[in-house]
């Protein structure tokens, strides 16, 4: 793919990845660096690796998956199911309109246009990646993934903190799919709970949304983060 006008044989993606990881033997590494000095397309290719904001989803635990279907754990399965049912009932009471503690913030996941609208936060702190974080420290970097019905859709992100609101990312549109990564990242700091809200399809003017969460459109999902100090 990057062999157009390449100087000699292009460096393969495997070699570029190994070079990026520092896994090439010194002699091979020197060859690669010599090639990169002279070859624009290959330099662009390594740049795409270096700049790629790839965030890995959490690895499912094979052990947990197997245990849930272990026949010998039958009594525990029923107990687990009872606990889950109780949790779901409590959650329904919590979210039911008019309940004593109904939230004023949109949920992180909702049904939308026959599919799902969901927001997922990913936190990066000193190289450590954490999915679905619930808190932040000053300087933590965050990225967003969103699940929305397939298609190109307008999108915007607003962060509410204290009495204020700001728009950390300049994203006008996204190709929706399962856990589509929203380009860009942002940092958080402060001592107040932060609500990160993603709006899809109908996007009100920023001045309107900045007035407060009551101005968020129906197609908005929010994830909250508490300060950890």
């Amino acid at each position: 793919m990057h062999d157009a006008d390449c100087t000699g044989a292009p460096l393969s993606w495997l070699v570029l990845e190994q070079y990026h990881l520092g896994e090439l033997k010194p002699s091979r590494r020197d060859q690669v660096e010599g090639h990169l000095r002279d070859c624009g397309p290959c330099r662009e290719a390594i740049e795409t690796i270096v700049q790629d904001p790839m965030v890995l989803p959490p690895l499912p635990s094979a052990d947990v998956r197997e245990r849930l279907f272990d026949v010998n754990l039958l009594p525990f399965r029923f107990g687990f199911a009872a606990v889950m049912a109780g949790f779901l009932i409590l959650l329904a009471i919590r979210l039911w309109p008019g309940s004593l503690s109904s939230p004023s913030w949109p949920p992180a996941v909702m049904g939308y246009k026959g599919g799902e609208l969901a927001v997922f936060l990913v936190r990066e702190r000193n190289g450590d990646i954490r999915h679905a974080p619930t808190g932040y420290l000053d300087g933590d970097r965050f990225r967003l993934h969103v699940t929305c019905p397939p298609g190109d859709r307008p999108l915007d992100v607003v962060v509410y903190q204290g009495d204020g609101a700001y728009f950390p990312l300049n994203v006008a549109e996204i190709s929706c799919t399962n856990r589509a990564a929203i380009p860009g990242a942002f940092q958080l700091s402060g001592l107040e709970t932060v609500h990160v809200c993603v709006m899809v399809d109908h996007i009100p003017p920023r001045e309107t949304v900045a007035a407060g969460p009551s101005m968020l459109p129906d197609a908005a999902v929010c994830a909250s983060l508490k300060p950890l100090k």
Partner: protein
């Protein structure tokens, strides 16, 4: 799992190049590492993992139901181009080629046209002789040219086919 964090991004980029879908790439890469975890196998390197995801991706492509969705997804545009002897070849065409090639050829096609490997690199990675790799690549080129010819032979509705 440290090797997941270390090698996962490289494998994701490879699968996305081939399949054009982040979700499919996630399924394949995660599936591989879950299996490695289950087998308690951690003494692996990137070339080994590259080969493993190649084979899983090929199985994924060959699944009939997924193939139809893939081709439907890809038929709209050519946002990714590789080259077969300077003739631009879309991912769509390469995926069609995968359906008609034998096992070794499919693997070699992926390494040559999705991963930009030289014949020497392919030989070193797969263990196939350099001669085998060269012959398979010639076969791939012939099949690609035949498929391209077939696509160009489809006459527009109401028009005359000059070849008849």
């Amino acid at each position: 799992m440290d090797i997941y964090q270390r090698y996962g991004p490289a494998l994701m980029r490879k699968c996305i190049r081939m399949l054009g879908s982040v979700q499919d790439a996630e399924d394949i890469v995660q599936g591989l590492f879950v299996d490695l975890l289950r087998k308690q196998k951690s003494d692996v390197d990137l070339p080994y993992l590259y080969r493993a995801v190649t084979n899983r991706s090929l199985n994924h492509v060959r699944d009939r139901h997924r193939r139809a969705a893939l081709l439907q997804r890809e038929s709209g545009g050519q946002d990714w181009i590789s080259r077969v002897d300077e003739a631009p070849v879309s991912r769509d065409l390469l995926l069609k080629l995968i359906q008609v090639l034998d096992g070794k050829s499919r693997e070699i096609l992926v390494y040559r046209f999705f991963d930009d490997m030289t014949q020497e690199e392919i030989s070193e990675l797969t263990g196939y002789s350099r001669k085998t790799v060269g012959k398979k690549l010639d076969r791939i080129r012939s099949r690609a040219e035949a498929l391209l010819r077939d696509e160009r032979c489809i006459a527009p509705e109401g028009g005359a086919d000059a070849r008849r």
